[in-house]
């Protein structure tokens, strides 16, 4: 810009311009991050999947009792844990905490890590028993973890559709939406 355009208030103009541009960008960023914001999931006990599933060869249904019989998989309650952990099995501090909780009859509420949207009909039984889909297909290597992940995994429709299309099963909206 030539010198005559360089008014004494150029820096103000630039500031305003920068404000507007950055405001829009930041607001958009705010919007987007809000939408994908994740609140960490805390579990009552730092459950070691690997210990149970790999080391002790327990089937998933030991704790997730319903996935072969119901639409949902189910989370273990205190009684389920108590079948083994009424007394100490190992040496970990977490287990000591668990045993203490169980003896004190404290409630044990696990928080789900994999969340379907609430407007979906999904039958675990149908997928696991009938279609023989492996748990890992959706749940990844959760069985290999030694510490519970903190992030919720939200399952998206495109994941479902991709699989349904590949296997040539229904993709009618109302098959799953309700």
């Amino acid at each position: 810009m030539t010198s005559d355009g360089r008014g004494s208030r150029l820096e103000l103009r630039l500031a305003a311009l920068a404000f507007v541009v950055v405001f829009c960008g930041a607001a958009a960023a705010g919007l987007v991050t809000m939408r994908y914001r994740r609140s960490p999931v805390e579990q009552p006990i730092a459950f070691n999947h690997r210990k149970h599933v790999i080391d002790n060869q327990l089937p998933c249904s030991t704790c997730h009792q319903f996935y072969e019989t119901e639409t949902f998989s189910g989370m273990p309650d205190a009684d389920t844990c108590a079948t083994c952990h009424q007394e100490r099995q190992g040496k970990s501090a977490e287990e000591a905490r668990l045993v203490k909780m169980l003896t004190n009859h404290q409630p044990l509420v696990w928080n789900s890590l994999f969340r379907q949207p609430p407007h979906i009909f999904y039958s675990h039984r149908r997928h696991v028993v009938k279609a023989q889909i492996k748990c890992e297909r959706c749940h990844g290597n959760i069985g290999m973890t030694t510490f519970p992940p903190r992030q919720v995994k939200r399952l998206s429709m495109s994941d479902c559709i991709a699989c349904h299309e590949r296997l040539h099963v229904a993709t009618d909206c109302t098959t799953c939406h309700r």
Binding site: A170, C173, T175
Partner: protein
């Protein structure tokens, strides 16, 4: 092909409105308090519409007809939805996909039966009423349109069940909540394409009428008019 449909025998119907409440409880319909109702915002997927007959001077009469989504074969709502949030499924159910609905209410205005409802506010249940909510039906957020789904979550459940019993879906496996509760047993539900089904047989009755048939919507809710039976049951 399966083509789900309903038959309502107006000669049996007593206008008791059990269907209205059964539907509301089954489908997690939000509570509407007095103020909402005064604003005309109460949601019901099935309602009884009054048809008054008789001019002044002659003896008046009153006909009450249960009206719900007709699950038209040519649904005017599906055509006009700009976001493909309302669709007609392979088995003829007109579905509403809540997470896709933008809330423009074009479908509600396009529906000649005025059976679509809108969530004017966020649904709220005072503690502990939320405990009565069914996990089978999604709780709709505010700002989206909803309507009778023929309780299609029951179809999803019934299919799931039938599949594990290694049998095809049978008549009576899948019945909407209103039909299940109708005290006068005036409502029937089933596959209109299955010639052996009750609804297919009743749909052929000389008493069978369809509402606003002249609009070409091809409703799948069929009424049996009041009057002498034509040997149809």
């Amino acid at each position: 092909m399966t083509r789900w449909g309903m038959v309502i025998d107006l000669d049996r119907c007593t206008a008791c409105q059990a269907c209205v409440v059964a539907c509301q409880v089954e489908n997690n319909i939000p509570l509407a308090d007095r103020v909402d109702c005064e604003h005309g915002r109460g949601i019901s997927w099935i309602r009884l519409a009054p048809f008054r007959e008789g001019e002044h001077g002659t003896r008046p009469s009153l006909r009450l007809i249960p009206i719900l989504c007709m699950h038209c074969e040519r649904p005017p709502c599906v055509k006009v939805c700009p976001a493909t949030a309302t669709i007609i499924g392979e088995e003829g159910l007109v579905g509403q996909i809540y997470p896709r609905c933008i809330g423009c209410r074009y479908c509600t205005t396009a529906c000649p039966y005025t059976v679509r409802r809108f969530n004017w506010k966020r649904p709220e249940w005072p503690e502990p009423m939320e405990q009565g909510l069914s996990p089978d039906v999604s709780v709709r957020p505010r700002g989206v349109v909803e309507k009778c789904s023929f309780c299609h979550h029951r179809l999803q459940r019934a299919k799931d069940k039938a599949r594990f019993e290694d049998r095809p879906l049978q008549e009576g496996d899948y019945v909407p909540a209103c039909v299940e509760t109708c005290p006068a047993e005036a409502m029937f539900f089933g596959d209109l394409d299955d010639p052996r089904s009750t609804v297919a047989r009743l749909a052929e009755s000389p008493r069978a009428i369809r509402l606003l048939e002249e609009l070409g919507t091809k409703p799948k809710v069929i009424y049996l008019s009041k009057g002498e039976s034509g040997g149809d049951v």
